[in-house]
Every structure is written in structure tokens, then in C-alpha cells.
Symmetry: C2
Subunit: 126 residues, 2 copies
DNA sequence: TATTTAATGCAATACCGTTGCAATAATACA
DNA sequence: TGTATTATTGCAACGGTATTGCATTAAATA
């Protein structure tokens, strides 16, 4: 299936680029309210994830965030580099931290994925 | 409001005790299917959490788990001792690990909460 | 410009947690 | 032990959110 460029996709892509950080479904919905259908947002975000343009992050508040992962760099998500994610409880900004997650599992355990979240105030909000 | 002991509460409490690990809403639902209404399970679990009998944990898969926290010990949840949680992707067991989460936030950041999840195979499933 | 079909909007559906309310039953007290 | 009180339960209904079907629109290509 060959993708097509549409206003909806451009709008959401621009939104994510301008934000610089990960945005949740409802944050995106708020910003494009009236411009497009709610279903379109779901489909656009899903297509972005399928195409590797964005990735979906499940935050510690149970919400999904979508990020272009330009600032945090794709390499962080590879090479077994598990890093912390930070969510500011004031401005709701979500970002990847450089800090690496170190962990030694008990005998007999096998690691698959790591999801580490820190909440608090970012440098702008503290 | 004075709580009353009921078959529904006993059943779910026994379930959690026997499991020895945290159970998700739908795991509990599966086990008591037919015995009681879906709504009752929600209400029983909520009352348990209100009364401090169980605590609610949001896992990295977006599901809530309920745990008596006998084996992992309440003290782990206090004293600023942030520990890893483990979820086995095979047997779906959820448990607290002894491993402490260490983290140095960037300049100007303030920490509030930490949620660290590891998935993989536990010693029984690896 | 015409053709193909991806993308969209709208309606309908599914899922999950919650709420209202009448019926039931656990507890306290006479 | 019997009765009164009211927490608890089941059922139906609701609300929010994600998904699907389908007819229509419009982006890409020739």
C-alpha cells in the first residue's frame, strides 16, 4: 500500500515536530479539534507508527504518547540502551533522559523489555 | 462506613493470597467468572485498595494489577526505596524485585515518582 | 484530464470502568 | 432469637475511548 500525503498527516506531523517532545493522543486531539475527525487522528498516528515515523510510548499514567524521536535519537532505542523517560506533572512534557537504566536480574530471569518512568518537574517547571 | 464480610470479598481475597503475586483485573475476572458480577469485582477491589488491604499497580502493559503486597513487603514502598517491578510475559506473574532503581536527574529537575518495569521470563519460565 | 485507490468522515460497534437503584443479606442491638 | 439498619450485590444504563464498515473524497500516476 502506497501512502499519500494529506493535510491531516502534515498537520499532525508538524505538530509533533514543533512540540519537540512526545504528545499524547488527547493532547493532539485538543490541538487539531475541528480540523479533522477523531478517527482520522487514530489512523494517522497508527500509520506513522507502522511506517516508523513515530513510536508509541505507554507512559506511567496509562496514556499513550507519540514521539518523532528526533531529539532523543533513534539510537537510544536500539543497541540495548535502556533509558529513563521523564514526564513533567506540571507541563505534561514527556522526554527521554540520557540516564541509562542499569539492572541485574535475579538468577534464571531473562530480560525482554524495560520501561522506566520518572515523574516530577522539568527544569522549566521546578 | 463499616465494612462487612461477604462471600465475594472472601473469594477474591483468597484468590490473591493463593496467587502469591499481583493479579490483573481480567485475571481475577477469569477466575471468578459466573460466581459474581463484573461490577462487584471492581467494587471489591476498590474497597480493598481504600482499606489498604491491596494496592493498585499500573503495569507497563497499561493494565492494573492488584497485590496484597505480603511477599514484597510494604517497607519497599516506603523509605524512598524505588524498586523494579517484573512481569513475566509467559506466566504473566508480576512481582517486586529487590533491585533498587538508581537515577540522577538532570540539573533543575525534581523527582516525584518512579515506575520501573522489566518484562521477560521469570525463573520458572526461562 | 481520467483512473486508481488511499484516506477521510460519519455512523455504528466494542470494550472497559463507573453509577443509579431496587433487592438482598451481613451486622448490631433489643 | 428476632428485628432494624444499611453495606453489598446484581442488573441495567451510562460515559469515555478505541475500532470497524462503508460510501465519499481526493492524492498520485499515467
Amino acid at each position: 500500500m502506497r501512502r499519500r500525503n494529506t493535510p491531516a498527516k502534515s498537520t499532525i506531523l508538524t505538530l509533533l515536530k514543533d512540540a519537540g517532545t512526545a504528545l499524547s493522543q488527547d493532547m493532539i486531539e485538543d490541538k487539531v479539534k475541528g480540523e479533522m475527525d477523531r478517527v482520522t487522528i487514530y489512523r494517522v498516528l497508527n500509520s506513522f507508527c507502522e511506517d516508523g515515523i513515530t513510536h508509541r510510548i505507554l507512559a506511567d499514567n496509562g496514556k499513550y504518547y507519540f514521539a518523532l524521536c528526533l531529539n532523543c535519537g533513534e539510537e537510544k532505542h536500539n543497541h540495548n540502551h535502556d533509558h529513563f523517560h521523564f514526564r513533567c506533572t506540571k507541563c505534561e512534557k514527556v522526554e527521554c533522559l540520557d540516564e541509562e537504566v542499569t539492572l541485574t536480574l535475579p538468577q534464571g530471569y531473562v530480560k525482554q523489555t524495560i520501561s522506566s518512568w520518572v515523574t516530577g518537574y522539568c527544569n522549566n517547571c521546578s
